[in-house]
């Protein structure tokens, strides 16, 4: 639904994920990960999403930014971080078994919550760095029957808010498309430089409202049967000696052992 009026209203979809520095361990059942000891943060690509919503509001002078997430109660912390950056309010679609969901069921929950809200743009990260599926943004656009621009590295919204020009990163270059609004935009790294926020801002953000919604999560169509670690690499070899000899040995190994070069 188009926001209309003077300002610009944005929705930012967020997922709370383990920090990228985390060592990920498989749980006893073999289908999930051990949560204990992990530091959870807002998905890094979602930070570019919220930053773009903030910049868009700065351009138009006013407007509301709503953060929507599907996840357990702890997802609130990541939401507060976005509040501290400047987002106004949040919707937490409570789901205590996130590891059982697939992207479609998450997108269906988001669509149900967002359908009756007012927005000009919906921002998502291009993918979450935990499951790396990269599906939710495009699925959400389809379920809401609005267009999408994915993996966007630059966005210019027209003054009348009826359209935008999006620069999408593609193999070996970029694709520039014009897109009607409202639309889903998924953020690539490089879209902007997310602002820093302070502990004080995070504390102040405690008073911003989060509406918790209970929802029957639709059945997943795909299911993780088991998780496994990547195969261990065979032990390597440190080449030692004078630079010239070492390089000769390396090139010889690449040619004759690995057979990678002619």
């Amino acid at each position: 639904m188009n926001g209309g009026g003077e300002g610009v209203n944005s929705i930012v979809c967020m997922k709370q994920v383990p920090d990228t520095e985390s060592i990920i361990r498989i749980d006893g059942e073999g289908t999930g990960i051990v949560e204990e000891g992990l530091t959870y943060v807002a998905n890094p690509y979602d930070e570019y999403a919220v930053e773009e919503a903030l910049r868009l509001r700065e351009k138009f002078g006013e407007g509301k930014i709503t953060v929507v997430t599907v996840g357990p109660q702890r997802a609130e912390e990541a939401m507060r971080y976005f509040f501290a950056m400047g987002a106004d309010e949040g919707v937490l679609i409570r789901d205590d078994e996130p590891q059982k969901r697939d992207s479609l069921s998450v997108a269906q929950c988001l669509a149900e919550a967002i359908r009756d809200m007012e927005y000009d743009v919906i921002f998502c990260g291009k993918q979450a760095v935990d499951d790396d599926s990269g599906q939710v943004g495009a699925m959400l656009a389809e379920l809401l029957d609005i267009p999408q621009a994915t993996v966007v590295a630059k966005l210019e919204v027209a003054d009348d808010k009826k359209s935008a020009v999006a620069h999408r990163e593609i193999e070996g270059g970029e694709e520039v498309i014009e897109i009607q609004l409202p639309a889903v935009i998924t953020a690539q790294k490089g879209l902007n430089e997310p602002r820093f926020t302070s502990l004080r801002e995070i504390k102040r953000a405690m008073s911003k409202p989060i509406a918790t919604r209970e929802m029957r999560v639709p059945e997943a169509k795909t299911r993780v049967v088991s998780l496994e670690r990547p195969p261990e690499r065979p032990p390597g070899r440190i080449l030692e000696g004078e630079d010239v000899d070492v390089v000769g040995e390396l090139v010889d190994a690449l040619r004759n052992e690995a057979k990678l070069i002619d």
């Binding site: 795909t222 080449l239 090139v251």
Partner: protein, 329 residues
């Protein structure tokens, strides 16, 4: 009806390498499930590609040829694909996990209300036609075996560069599809495709990657990596670690790792990269890894097949010279 379908991609009237990879994996699944392999070809003036799709295993080529499909527009393509699926009811559709496939496949899956597994590295099918796949999580820190429980078609996208290509000549009977697109439902327009000047092969499709990290000390020094990549040939390109990208030395599109690209080249040469966990996640599936670093304790050496402890500014140019001397390519 049934059938395993693949969605080939073409650029300027030539099939992309990933399309042959899809044909090869699709052929294997079709044989195992006892089904036909169909290639769902969309574009404008692309019929001449049918014979090549047949040569690599397509029993049928479902052809949607229309001026309206000249440019890739998500909504137009989604609509044509979903019409074709409705009329022919394939049991599986495979896309490539390219930027196009990543944009298109989820939209198609959502419209059909079916499951999608992205970026798969292994695919299998059982007697009852149920697809199972393996796909990386956390940029490759873990892999998940995923089953499809409900609904058809089962949709997956396949990671470029992991499926060996095999010729397997089939009939490739062309089945023309009626193209009906409601223009009011196509709400994007292609303005321009900008190619990077002097762009080399994309990281995700490269056979050789020469990658630089903090140890490169500055953007100007990446020229020695460029030189090595040029010497390795047209299938080689240059990558970077997150610290090199965050320092502004390289564009983000060069970044390898958890907030960049996950890569699977035959050879990954890590220069001045210590090997932070999110970087290792993105390149550990490379066939061979060479690490050059002055710190003997750098974690990258644990992943390397060949390690050189030393000064990359001396060693990298020597490698280039040695390759030139011995007439590589």
């Amino acid at each position: 009806m049934a059938g395993i379908w693949i969605f080939p991609e073409q650029i300027n009237g030539e099939l992309k390498k990933v399309s042959f990879e899809l044909l090869s994996v699709g052929r294997r699944l079709a044989d195992k499930a006892g089904e036909e392999l169909g290639a769902l070809l969309l574009g404008s003036g692309v019929e001449m590609l049918a014979s090549e799709l047949a040569k690599y295993g397509a029993d049928k080529v479902f052809l949607a040829d229309s001026a309206d499909l000249k440019d890739f527009l998500t909504e137009a393509y989604t609509s044509v694909i979903c019409d074709a699926v409705g009329a022919n009811e394939p049991s599986v559709i495979l896309f490539s996990a390219t930027t196009l496939g990543r944009d298109l496949a989820p939209r198609v899956a959502a419209r059909l209300g079916t499951g999608l597994a992205t970026d798969c590295t292994e695919l299998d099918i059982d007697d009852t036609g149920r697809l199972t796949v393996k796909r990386p999580l956390f940029a490759g820190k873990l892999f998940a075996n995923v089953a499809f429980d409900n609904g058809k078609p089962q949709i997956a996208s396949v990671r470029p560069n992991v499926i060996p290509v095999q010729e397997d000549s089939k009939a490739g009977e062309v089945v023309r599809l009626e193209v009906r697109i409601d223009p009011s439902r196509v709400r994007t327009k292609l303005k321009e495709i900008k190619k990077e000047t002097g762009a080399r092969v994309d990281l995700t499709e490269a056979k050789f990657i020469v990658s630089g990290g903090r140890g490169m000390k500055g953007p100007e020094n990446f020229s020695i990596l460029e030189n090595l990549a040029v010497t390795l040939g047209s299938e080689a390109t240059v990558g970077a670690s997150r610290s090199a990208v965050d320092a502004g030395w390289r564009p983000h599109s060069d970044q390898v790792g958890q907030t960049g690209k996950t890569v699977t080249p035959d050879l990954y040469i890590a220069c001045g990269i210590s090997g932070a966990i999110q970087h290792l996640a993105g390149m550990s599936s490379s066939k061979y890894i060479v690490a050059i670093n002055k710190d003997p304790d750098a974690p990258i050496f644990k992943k390397a097949d060949y390690g050189i402890v030393g000064d990359l500014f001396k060693i990298v140019p020597l490698i280039t010279e040695e390759l030139k001397k011995s007439g590589k390519k």
